[in-house]
């Protein structure tokens, strides 16, 4: 018998946790994005056309939304679980009749919730600079889900593997940040030298950004279906990794 109520309470606990510190978990990332917009809007001429019929600021907003969502989804599950491991209070969850899969669902669910809230916050704030429409809301939701879900799962993975906070921030600073900067948030990858253009096609974040940009603006560099497929595969793989670690009890049930 699955423990639905236990799953719901664990999910609620995770959401409650980040809402208790919402200045840091919601407001700060929104303000960071606002600063990007402020800087880029004053440095780069907004009349510059990035994709057919899309000026720079409008081009920028969907990418920044995805970047903020994925970074925050990762931060949520990784910091919550790692802190619980370091404090020792993770045992209260491990003692309860909650399965590995329920554990995974609750943490990844909360990561998606935080990503979603940050995404909405960024969109609202960006309206001051450019009102970006949502042309394909269903595709958008699907991509946001894959994006936050994958990063939530990777957050779990890093929180399980890490032995100190250093390891978490290393993963954040040497993997998540570079991959999101190189995913075509700030530029169109067709402006890149051929090598980097090819390399970008191996970066899953590129598909998330490009696909999400399509669901907003209706234009993209690769087909949105490709992006959704890549997103789905990325989500399945990262979830599989997280679930394997949970099943083995790696670093949790020694």
């Amino acid at each position: 018998m699955p423990n639905f109520y236990g799953l719901y309470i664990l999910f609620a606990r995770e959401v409650w946790r980040f809402l208790k510190v919402s200045i840091q978990t919601i407001l700060t990332p929104v303000i960071t994005v606002l600063l990007y917009l402020l800087i880029f809007s004053s440095v780069i001429s907004s009349s510059r056309e990035m994709l057919p019929g899309v000026n720079y600021l409008t081009f920028l907003v969907p990418g920044l939304m995805v970047m903020a969502m994925l970074q925050n989804a990762f931060a949520n599950s990784s910091s919550s679980l790692f802190q619980a491991r370091m404090n020792g209070n993770v045992i209260f969850i491990l003692l309860a009749p909650i399965s590995d899969f329920e554990f995974y669902l609750a943490f990844v669910g909360a990561a998606v919730a935080r990503g979603l809230l940050v995404g909405i916050g960024v969109w609202l704030a960006s309206c001051y600079f450019a009102v970006v429409p949502l042309s394909h809301p269903l595709f958008a939701l699907l991509l946001v889900f894959f994006c936050c879900g994958s990063l939530g799962a990777l957050g779990l993975v890093s929180a399980i593997i890490a032995d100190k906070w250093d390891h978490i921030s290393a993963f954040q600073n040497f993997v998540i940040v570079p991959f999101s900067f190189l995913s075509g948030v700030f530029f169109s990858i067709s402006d890149l030298p051929t090598f980097w253009q090819r390399a970008s096609h191996f970066n899953p974040f590129f598909y998330l950004v490009d696909g999400f940009r399509f669901t907003c603006l209706g234009v993209s560099e690769v087909s949105v279906l490709t992006s959704i497929c890549v997103g789905a595969v990325f989500f399945v793989l990262s979830s599989f990794w997280a679930l394997c670690l949970l099943r083995r009890g790696y670093n949790l049930r020694s």
């Binding site: 018998m1 423990n3 109520y5 236990g6 719901y8 309470i9 664990l10 609620a12 606990r13 946790r17 208790k20 510190v21 619980a84 404090n87 020792g88 209070n89 045992i91 209260f92 969850i93 491990l94 003692l95 309860a96 009749p97 909650i98 399965s99 009890g249 049930r253 020694s254």
Partner: protein, 306 residues
């Protein structure tokens, strides 16, 4: 049915055998003490029962539910107070208890019980305090409450009184005794042997991963066959003992004579008569019956030589 049954349980950490081939059963309703020196494997055993650690080999079950195969049921039956003072700094006492009860699938209907726990453990003043603002003893009490949110029939307390002051210790013990009286099986570890001796009916002693004793308390105590006779000597008394008694003599402070006597073979009356004959004069006499401390020391030392 047994509250806990453990069969050939081993746990290796690399080359270290934290537990080797431990088998024991604990009857339902028992008040059971698990004793042993630091690093004996007590917490390891408890963690295996709780599903926090996985055994290398062997089986463990709580009320007949295997802790690996029927883990969900086993966890419902078990409440564990961990040895480490773990707490969640984000939440208040009430929030913690509500969450913990939720993890076990219990919602609003469990409120009255949570309130009862809060009163019983004297936490009313602290329910809206976040955990990191509580003192160590208070955190310990919250841990006890958390372990009991789902009314588990089997309760394991891993050193519940470590770092707890005298008054709170007495209070905790009377609370735990109350639980036992209501039918909960109690299993505890402690390094205060007098506590175990005065409370528990059955005792297991672990040492370096091996079960070195498992018996009802009285039987264990009677197994130790020595007692001490301590005499307060008169100032003028000189002590020259015949060889038979000299062999039983133990080191004692100035002005005292200490003899280690066998419970069955040495008759106190005969010993005193023999002393009288050699001219030993004493003003006072005390007999020290062995307690758990002596048994414990003997058993664990025997294991060290084994």
């Amino acid at each position: 049915m047994d509250a806990v049954s453990i069969d050939g349980l081993s746990k290796d950490y690399g080359s270290l055998k934290a537990l080797s081939e431990v088998s024991l059963t604990i009857a339902e309703g028992a008040f059971f003490a698990l004793l042993g020196p630091n690093g004996a494997g007590k917490s390891t055993l408890i963690n295996i029962l709780a599903g926090l650690t996985r055994a290398t080999s062997g089986r463990a079950a709580v009320l007949g539910c295997d802790v690996r195969r029927q883990w969900r049921k086993a966890r419902h039956q078990l409440g564990v107070v961990p040895q480490e003072l773990a707490y969640d700094p984000f939440f208040t006492v009430r929030e913690m208890l509500t969450l913990q009860s939720g993890y076990f699938g219990l919602g609003k209907e469990n409120r009255p019980w949570l309130n009862e726990l809060i009163v019983a453990l004297d936490l009313e003043d602290k329910i809206d305090t976040t955990m990191n603002h509580l003192s160590g003893g208070m955190k310990r009490r919250v841990l006890v409450a958390q372990a009991l949110v789902h009314r588990p029939p089997v309760v394991i307390l891993d050193e519940p009184t470590a770092g707890v002051d005298v008054a709170l210790r007495a209070q905790l013990w009377s609370f735990i005794r109350g639980l036992n009286a209501k039918g909960h099986t109690i299993i505890l570890t402690t390094h205060y042997l007098e506590e175990a001796e005065s409370m528990c009916e059955k005792i297991a002693i672990l040492d370096r991963g091996r079960l070195v004793a498992l018996a009802p308390k009285d039987e264990l105590l009677s197994r130790y066959s020595w007692r001490q006779l301590r005499l307060q000597l008169m100032p003028e008394s000189t002590v020259v003992l015949p060889d038979v008694l000299e062999a039983k003599r133990q080191a004692a402070p100035q002005g005292e004579l200490l003899l280690r006597l066998h419970r069955e073979h040495d008759h106190i009356g005969e010993v005193l008569a023999a002393l009288e004959q050699t001219g030993v004069k004493f003003s006072d006499l005390r007999i020290h019956e062995p307690g758990l401390t002596e048994v414990y020391t003997e058993v664990t030392e025997a294991n060290n030589h084994a």
